[in-house]
Amino acid sequence: MSIDSLTSVLTALGTAVGATALLAHLWDQRRVFGRILLVSAVLLAMTGAAALQVNRLTATYPTWASLLSRSTGGDQPETVDQPTNGSQPSIGAEPTASAGSTAPAVPDSTPRPPGNGRMVRFAVAGRASGLSMPMTVYLPSAYFTPQGGTLRFPVIEALHGYPGTPETWFRRMDVKRILDREIAAGRMAPTVVLFPYQTPDRLLDTECTNLTGGPQAETYLTVDVPRWAGEHLRVRTDRAGWALIGYSAGAFCAMNLALRHPDRYIAGASLSGYADPGIKVGDGSEKTTNNIVWRLTHRPPPPVSLYIAWAANDPVVRRASQRIVPLAKPPLAVTTATVPHGGHTTAAWQKMEAPAFDWLSARLARAEPTAVRSRPAGAAAGAGSGGPLGVLPTAGPAVPVRSSSTRPFNFWYQNGQHIRPADRAAASARGSPPSSSGSPPDTARASYLAARHPRPPRSAARV
């Protein structure tokens, strides 16, 4: 019985009903201690049932084992596309991988029929960020064909909401089927899609930023993940071949990272994204460089393309989107899409995801021969030209772990405290995030994070 199954929730509800009946039956026969026990059992069962249902919607804890740890590093999701030959999944670095790299062999190189991509899970140890987290990779069926074996593919980084994990993409948004379908229909070019975690602590919202004294999520996502992919997968390494997509908090991430790193990404797709992170980053940048409205108002527009989608009856996101769109000026290109209903739920994102993936694919550079290294398109290329991410040091072996799933549920935290949406909306309206209600610094968390990150991580932040 998986933690996010309906059976688990119904079992908890059944237990609550049973405990209630027991309480009613035994009340007169028990004294204070017994009665307290009975009431506690009822409360526990009801709370448990509610918590299980919330977890079903968010996939914050994808397995029972994950309940034992707040760290996301050990998550072992249950739906894995295992290699058919029984060997460990590996990923086929290009033949020209730099000397000293582990250059894993092409995995299970049996050609797969069109529309039959593969999900494989790996541990990605980030040297720049110091973070080590699992990442699921979608490899299109073309990746395993003889012709695909000579190509390096474009890449999309798919980001999840908060609280949550990439499991939402797999279980609620059925992303593998969508990608297989769109690629098979020719609406998407064969593309490698990465599903990284955005926080090492499932109860800590990073909003893909480098938290002061905390996880360097931005560095992990924009430096470590691209570097790892460039070393271990046959993927393009230039900005023309990289894009972002995300829903809810991940949608803010997709827009924010694309705007902050136009040297790494050519496009981003936001499915119900906010204009600001809604957390305290620690350096005040939630009001400035990590605030999309501020950035578009105070910085030159970068040469990237954004797809901004929202549901008309999702008022906070609608207002945020309607503030962002008019601020976009060339060379920043914006395409908008709306659905009339759907609120802030996976129901809306399910409708948005295929159009968003198609849109991204129409802006991503095509797969290129492995013999060619991407470089800026020409001597007179402008800021929008493609370019490699740089010469990347070699990494350790790709560590495959068991691979592959939620409904949106967003809370916002500042130093571990919830922020009311009203505050968030008000902050968005005035172009700054809400205050933390004077909450003191979380020294326990700071110590914990300091212990987790003994070395000062290098920052990937760009202003």
């Binding site: 060339p330 899409a337 739920t345 802006r363 290129e368 929008g384």
Partner: protein, 247 residues
């Protein structure tokens, strides 16, 4: 019915209190109904408290504005966009080496020679696909080389243009609109490949239309084929009509 409104939250809240009060008042009801009355009262109160809590959380997050969202109905379905078409599709399909192209009258006056539109291999076979474009600015003597090289660049339409002396980017801007009508093109993320002589003009044009033209590649000693190939590698693949939301 709004699931985020205060009236529903207040209603469930009040009902929760009433259920709890009723359960307490009837707790010592006599007879064989005592147990069912207690259990029912408690369960009712529990469910209502849970419901109220859930509604408050839903209001805070704005997740499910109405019952409609609970059914997954968002009021719209993504649909496949209409297939693109070009007025010259039929001619392009049988002109693998290129087709003389008649530009609008305005830009035509600023061109030293009639432009040529070169389809990629398979243009006639991929009938529903839209193609990215390379606009090649070439001198008279370079143009034949460019045309020959463009015919073998996969997945890209190439428009070979020879601007006249003194042409400025604004003179050429109208070319793109007619090109979109004449051939199955994407409207964005195109590339310019240019002879060194026209590099300033190309950069001027890119800056004038930075969303349409993302890159400029200058033909160097390696020759036009290499420049076209380099530019094409940064362009998207030709794709079938995408899924789109109605708005």
């Amino acid at each position: 019915m709004s699931l985020t409104g205060l009236p529903l939250i207040l209603l469930t809240g009040v009902l929760s209190v009433l259920a709890a009060v009723a359960a307490v008042r009837l707790w010592h009801a006599a007879g064989r109904w005592r147990l069912p009355v207690r259990a029912t009262g408690l369960l009712l109160a529990e469910v209502l408290v849970l419901l109220t809590t859930g509604l408050i959380a839903n209001r805070v997050g704005g997740f499910y504005p109405s019952l409609r969202e609970l059914t997954g109905d968002v009021g719209a379905e993504a649909e496949i966009a209409p297939p693109p078409s070009g007025r010259l599709d039929g001619k392009l399909a049988v002109a693998p080496d290129g087709l003389p192209w008649t530009p609008p009258a305005g830009p035509a006056r600023r061109l030293a020679a009639p432009p040529t539109l070169v389809p990629p291999p398979g243009y006639g076979r991929l009938t529903g696909h839209a193609f990215p474009v390379i606009v090649a600015l070439a001198t008279d003597d370079q143009a034949p080389l460019i045309r020959a090289a463009a015919a073998s660049v996969p997945g890209v339409l190439t428009l070979v243009v020879t601007p006249s002396a003194g042409a400025v980017a604004a003179d050429l801007a109208e070319l793109t609109g007619q090109l979109e009508r004449d051939a199955r093109t994407t409207g964005h993320d195109w590339a310019i490949v240019t002879d060194r002589r026209f590099a300033p003009l190309a950069e001027q044009w890119r800056q004038l239309a930075p969303i349409r033209f993302r890159t400029v590649t200058v033909v160097d000693a390696a020759g036009p084929a290499t420049a076209l190939d380099s530019a094409a590698r940064h362009l998207p693949s030709p794709l079938a009509p995408p899924m789109m939301l109605p708005s």
